[in-house]
């Protein structure tokens, strides 16, 4: 049922503007992959290319072994959920969900009673039983979202494509639907690609995350992979906050100025580099080696966390430090910081 999707060196231009520059990606059958990237990075374009709504200038998309070039939109059997759902306003929920099945050629079309059965099954699946007769304008955003998903699932798609499925919803609903979608995917097992620019959403939901930037895939990997071992500075900064320190690597140690700040570097590199450190990887410590002295300049609350901004001599930007369970320092206090984990990239 589910099929592997292979994307081979896709290039896509709009007039003179290049939206995708040689994108390749292998998606396993039944896998849930997130396309993550900033606005304008080409996520929607890539999704539309997989769906066949856009033609590539170079490269190809394979479903299993088959080149999709030869498949009509109908034969691709794509379940596409649009960012703004694109529900048919003049049809009620049941008609929306049944549209795909009723569009099949007569000899492949299920009987009316089978279609109606399938509609109520799907409404059950998306947890909206009994809403058959409502029109899209009579539904909440989250309900529309789920109807759009049910409509896409109705044709038993081989690949499910979701463009910012939760983009138009408020934070609370997003969280609920996230868990629900994860669960639904577990049960139905469709090969799924979903687009988002919310890194938290991507990391939480996806088996693998592909990070796009400016029409290129910068890295593909599991949430842990990309978060803990970002391949590029862009990925590192995009996946979460990071402090950037200019350092020099000498003999397995990183030096900020002439002060060693991080040891045990096994990477075979030396010379100037940028060290990216996430706020939770900076700890206020008592006297130790490998510590960075600074002054607390600002304290603020960031959700459940308290955060300190600490000025370090020789660094223009203040360092953001998460104060997980430590006693908060006072403003103006001089502290020492230890870097528990950092990502090193050769200076550009």
């Amino acid at each position: 049922m589910s099929v592997a999707v292979t994307i081979e060196t896709i290039e896509k231009r709009f007039d003179s503007f290049t939206a995708l520059r040689g994108v390749s990606l292998d998606i396993q059958p039944g896998e849930l992959v997130a396309l993550l990237g900033p606005s304008g990075s080409g996520k929607t374009t890539l999704l539309r290319l997989i769906a066949g709504l856009e033609q590539a200038d170079r490269g190809r998309v394979l479903f299993g072994e088959a080149d999709t070039q030869e498949l009509s939109l109908r034969d691709r059997r794509i379940g596409f959920v649009f960012q703004h759902y694109a529900l048919f306003k003049t049809m009620n929920v049941a008609e929306n969900i049944g549209f795909g099945l009723r569009s099949r050629p007569r000899q492949e079309r299920p009987s009316e009673s089978e279609i109606n059965k399938r509609i109520s099954d799907l409404l059950e699946l998306v947890q909206l039983p009994g809403l058959e007769k409502r029109y899209p304008s009579q539904l909440s955003g989250g309900q529309r979202q789920r109807v759009a998903l049910a409509r896409a699932l109705a044709i038993e798609p081989r690949v499910l494509l979701l463009d910012e499925p939760f983009g138009a919803l408020d934070a609370k609903v997003r969280k609920d639907l996230r868990a629900w979608l994860r669960d639904l995917h577990g049960r139905t097992g469709h090969t799924t690609v979903f687009v988002t620019h919310d890194q938290e959403e991507a990391l939480e939901l996806a088996d693998r995350v592909a990070i796009l930037n400016d029409g290129r895939i910068e890295q593909v990997g599991s949430a842990d992979d990309v978060y803990d071992h970002p391949a590029t500075p862009f990925v590192c900064e995009f996946l979460g906050e990071a402090n950037k320190l200019p350092v020099k690597v000498v003999g397995g140690q990183a030096f900020f100025g002439d002060r060693p700040v991080l040891g045990g570097i096994t990477q075979n590199q030396g010379g100037p580099a940028s060290l990216y450190v996430r706020p939770q990887h900076l700890r206020i410590v008592d006297e130790t080696p490998l510590a960075l002295p600074g002054t607390v300049e600002h304290l603020r609350r960031n959700g459940p966390l308290r955060r300190a901004e600490i000025a370090v001599e020789g660094l223009k930007r203040r360092l953001d430090v998460d104060l997980a369970s430590q006693v908060a320092p006072a403003i103006g206090e001089r502290v020492r910081l230890r870097i528990t984990h950092g990502n090193l990239f050769a200076a550009a």
């Binding site: 939109l73 059997r77 649009f82 048919f88 306003k89 003049t90 569009s103």
Partner: protein, 294 residues
Amino acid sequence: MSDAALPLAAAAPARRSSARGESLGVRIALIAVSLLFLLLFLLLPLAAVFVEAGSKGWEAYRAAITEPDALAAIRLTLLVAAIAVPFNIVVGIAAAWAVAKFEFRGKNLLISLIDLPFSVSPVISGLVFVLLFGAQGYFGPWLQAHDIKIVFALPGLILATVFVTFPFVARELIPHMQSLGTADEEAALTLGASPWRVFFRVTLPNVKWSLFYGVLLCNARAMGEFGAVAVVSGKIRGLTNTMPLHIEILYNEYMGAAAFAVASLLAGLALITLALKTFLEWRFGDEIAASRRH
């Protein structure tokens, strides 16, 4: 309700009216001017038509509209509309579809061309066809040789009417279709619908109210058009006279009551159009608003 709430409640209306920025006096004056205008320029003439029509009594009224030339004019008007309106529906939808859903060179030119019939005087619209197809026109000799009559005959009337009423449907549809974009169509296509099914089940239902408005206006104009039709008609009684032309002839022959009797039919059409439009807005107001909002 507690006492403390009262001052608040009293303050609210005052705040609202000041927020709208004009005093009660100005509002009354504006409403009065609008009503007066409506009364003077719309209701009074309309009433005059019906009063004049009935001035010679019911029998005279009946005779005026059942007289053979009048009946012929009514039949011709209906026939012209019955051909011109469906034609413009089809072409108008096609033009709106092309403009709203595709990107192509010369699109702005096409949009301006669609408006051309509105910006050209109807008399000129008629003259163009005489120039093309009249006896002295470009295609005149060829048409005569093949015994085809266009000007001073039904085809000319239809051509002129089609030309003059073309923009109504397209102009209603274009902004609506443009605002809808192509997402619904793309959704239907990925669900496996054929292009025909997409058009008839998705595109058309989405714009049905705009289409209906366009058709109503187009029809009213097709039946009421005077200028362009007058030029190509030749005003042959009982043959190429439409209702507006018939009315003019009667009027010129000092048969005022008869002229107004036929005119009352056209005025009636206008009222029916208006009533239909109002009824639809009232009955399906939510849907119309929804289809326009989304």
